[in-house]
Amino acid sequence: MNRTALLLVGLVSAVASAAEVGAPAPDFTLKDLDGKDVKLSAFKGKTVVLEWFNPECPYVKASHTKGSLKDTAQRAAKKGVVWLAINSGAPGKQGHGVEKNRAGVKAFGLEHPVLLDESGAVGKAYGATNTPHLFVIDPRGTLVYRGAIDNSPDGEGGAAKDGKLVNYVEAALDDLAAGRAVKTPDTKAYGCSVKYGS
């Protein structure tokens, strides 16, 4: 097999590994900002939200301070939902590092863990392309939503398409809580690109 063919095989393999709605969410273990291991499958039986995160991305800042991410995780936590932020930024990229993420936690008043994925392996396994990029996993471990936090791509909630702001994640969580299928399971994420190393 020549080098080009090997590269193509590698590319197909990477795409095929992206998480799909309706399929089991890929398990992972990542360290939080205190160095403690957090394993996704440990939360089986609970609804989990994964939020791709970059504390210095202006879309993340806007959404956490003015837009649809403001206090959303806290509201979800009160209903028993586990919320995990994941930073897949590589060293040297915007928003990378424990201290910058601690500063983000403080600035946004986050009460949930931020997990570090410097290699980008988990981000790529989920097909995370943007910050913020949201994934909702049901108690059985099935991915039931992936996409944007809402339909307002300015991050502030001030540019909702059709004039009505829709928080897709809260809607998905409401559907799950009511025992319904998630009405809108897949949307296009917006925001900064995930600052992968390669």
Binding site: E56, C57, P58, Y59, A62, G92, K93, Q94, S152, P153, D154, G155, A159, K188, Y190, G191, C192, S193, K195
Partner: protein
């Protein structure tokens, strides 16, 4: 300056070496008639006044954004111009989305990305007045993204 920047804005071959941006406090809009501009290493944004027209005639100002070297426009961001309320100027909407109307120029070597956008802002002028407002846009490079809100102002002449 703008033409030179536009010509070089889309090159992605070189790794971006952009100085740390001082973007949190947009500079005050220039007060010159005709064109109002803000230039930074990351972008150039301009508001161009229309030619003088009879009072009450529909005219259009132009918003022009050029990404700096290594940056491109974030196509997903709802680029918009929000005019200030000014006596004598009438806009159809309080906030004018520019993304759909904008003519976007692909980046050199990166046809999926746009490095330059130009859009019209139609309005009518009952009398000479100063058109001012906020241009909101987003630019990105592989290392970082920025959301910018720049205040610009131009004199609108009336015949």
């Amino acid at each position: 300056m703008l033409a030179a920047l536009a010509a070089s804005a889309c090159t992605k071959d070189k790794p971006p070496e952009v100085p740390a941006p001082a973007v949190t406090a947009p500079a005050a809009a220039k007060d010159a008639a005709g064109t109002s501009r803000e230039e930074k290493p990351e972008y150039v944004v301009e508001l161009l006044a229309p030619e003088a027209a009879p009072a009450g005639a529909e005219v259009a100002a132009t918003v022009h954004v050029v990404a700096g070297e290594g940056f491109h426009l974030n196509a997903e961001y709802p680029m918009a111009f929000t005019p200030d309320e000014v006596d004598g100027l009438v806009f159809k909407d309080k906030k004018i989305p520019l993304a759909d109307a904008a003519r976007k120029t692909p980046c050199k070597g990166e046809p999926k990305d746009a490095c330059e956008a130009r859009a019209k802002v139609p309005f009518t002028a009952d009398k000479a007045a100063k058109l001012s407002g906020l241009v909101a846009f987003s630019i990105c490079q592989p290392e970082k993204c920025l959301i910018e809100k720049v205040k610009l102002a131009v004199d609108v002449p009336v015949k």
